[in-house]
């Protein structure tokens, strides 16, 4: 059996799980039908071809194209099914809104490479599937009413990976940001403000420029926020915040003329306080996360939001990132609602 066809088949099946709650019913029906039908045919006929439909026996090819034509023309069942799924989802979110909805959820998008290995895909396909998963998770978060969503896209530690893999991820980022810039009207209509958090100077020039352009273009939006952490680690963020705080205090003292003789206030009077540091953190633009989700079941934070997660519920679903979707978001929020009283009490004690 042709390796390409096998891979496509598996990618189709894996994408089905993401598309399952998608609002586009035609995509849903065609993905499910096409993937399952294709894999059954592939396994039983063992044909050797790159073209997925071309070398099918004529009767089956005829039936396949006929069926797809039918769906395209009538679309009644698909529209009804899509509408039903969408209504049920909205009902569930309305029901969940009876309780406290977290203001800020952060995600560590872990497991793309394991997903590609599990489904025997090309390594890059895992990252692509991960991007689709990100879109659906974002959609559910904004629908349920979460205002800030932070995602850990790329760590400073990830620069230690193979150069071709790093370049691949950079290329995907560039491609997706460019795609995003083309849909600015829709983004601005939904009021999404995008912020890229991290040491952007470490990124390739085109990616950095595209990121800055995206930030500038959505700067006036205030309805919801998407914070994408690239080239970020907490162990870079904290010393940098100290540096920025020192710079600010130095300028303030110089302008107020207090340190003419080079001597600062006496030793008991600390110039820099915790609030000054928090003001200069990369993540100072958003409140601390209420929930910190790491996919793939790992229980560590890997240098992500260590300072900001003091009172965050840590949630580690076993699903790999491309498998994350609706139910993980729902379950995470239900867990938060169950423990919200305790977390709020801890926040007030701080």
């Amino acid at each position: 059996m042709n390796a390409n066809v096998q891979k496509n088949c598996r990618l189709q099946i894996s994408i089905v799980w993401n598309v399952l709650e998608d609002n586009s019913p035609l995509n849903f029906i065609t993905h499910v039908f096409f993937s399952l039908f294709l894999c059954v045919i592939n396994n039983s006929l063992e044909f050797n071809s790159r073209n997925q439909v071309g070398y099918l026996p004529s009767t089956l090819k005829f039936q396949l194209t006929e069926r797809m034509e039918e769906e395209r023309q009538s679309g009644v069942i698909s529209k009804w099914l899509g509408g039903l799924i969408s209504t049920m989802r909205r009902l569930l979110f309305t029901f969940m809104s009876s309780g406290p909805i977290p203001q800020h959820i952060a995600f560590i998008m872990d497991g793309n490479r394991r997903f590609a290995k599990k489904w025997k895909l090309d390594e890059g396909a895992g990252h692509k599937a991960g991007f689709l998963s990100l879109l659906s998770v974002l959609k559910y978060c904004y629908e349920v009413g979460v205002k800030y969503v932070t995602v850990y896209a790329f760590s400073l530690d990830n620069f230690n990976r193979r150069p071709d893999e790093v370049q691949y991820v950079m290329d995907i980022m560039y491609e997706k940001i460019q795609g995003f810039l083309k849909e600015l009207d829709m983004v601005n209509r939904y009021g999404v403000r995008v912020l890229f958090i991290g040491d952007l100077n470490r990124l390739d020039e085109p990616v950095r420029l595209a990121a800055e352009k995206a930030m500038e273009a959505t700067a006036k939006n205030t309805k919801t926020y998407l914070l994408v952490c690239v080239a970020y680690t907490s162990s870079h963020e904290i010393p940098r915040a100290i540096y920025e705080a020192c710079q600010e205090k130095s300028l303030a003292l110089a302008s107020s003329g207090k340190n003419d003789d080079g001597i600062v206030n006496d030793d008991d009077d600390d110039v820099i306080k915790v609030v000054d540091l928090e003001k200069h953190m990369y993540m100072g633009v958003a409140p601390d996360p209420d929930i910190l989700v790491r996919s793939s079941g790992e229980t560590r934070l890997s240098n992500f939001l260590l300072w900001q997660s003091t009172n965050s519920l840590l949630y580690s679903p076993k699903a790999l990132w491309p498998e994350m979707g609706f139910w993980q978001v729902v379950w995470g929020i239900l867990k938060y609602q169950n423990k919200c009283y305790y977390l709020e009490k801890k926040k007030k004690q701080a």
Binding site: S98, D157, I238, C246, N259
Partner: protein, 247 residues
Amino acid sequence: MDPVAESQKFFRRISQSSNIMLFLLWHVVHLILSVLYIVREIFRAIENYLITNGYVKTYTNLNLDRVKYLGIVIDSDEARNTSKVVELLEWLSALGVKKLCLYDREGVLKKSKAVFMERFGSTENSVAGPLVSKKRMDFEFVSITDGKEAVAKAANLLFKKYYVDGDSEKPFFTEAHLTDALKTLGAVEPDPDLLLIYGPVRCHLGFPAWRIRYTEMVHMGPLKYKKLGLIMKAIHRFTKVKQNYGS
């Protein structure tokens, strides 16, 4: 009566009652969730019984070499129950843990430091004989003041070092600068490999941020329901974890 107004009133009543229904349903779902948590506790108790009585062979030989430094986070309200904490420490010392970091947010454990050090500390204790020497553990007591406030103190130290003299070179601060500043303020202990969280929620409650970069964090439940078998399971699972450290 005006039919439009009538129907509007009717729909308003329906939507109000449907809101009430959803609200009640939300409470019912969370009640079910609480029941599920109780059921989970029962299963964990059964699991603990099987592990501690040797029915599950997997956890009998624990390789503690990988757990060089164990961190324990305890909710401050539960930490006031010193006897429970002592019982936990007894189990850990019996398992063979040598170096331990105890954290609670408000510093309650710091106040009971003397009790723990006398019982388990590796400092000289004339009462204890050689038979209990293997129970000795090295302790570190940490609270919220050793977290963000310690970083603020380190920031002030760095400010005084580099910014007081206007002509001195002002480097961009890195992790190394922060570590040096923290060392000047006091001893800098290594990062814990594994953090066991005892409390109602899986939340590290402000453990010093720069020390938990790659630390595995496991929620053990409330301290009053602590179980030896589950500690063994958590340590065993930790020994199987493979970290890439980002690469």
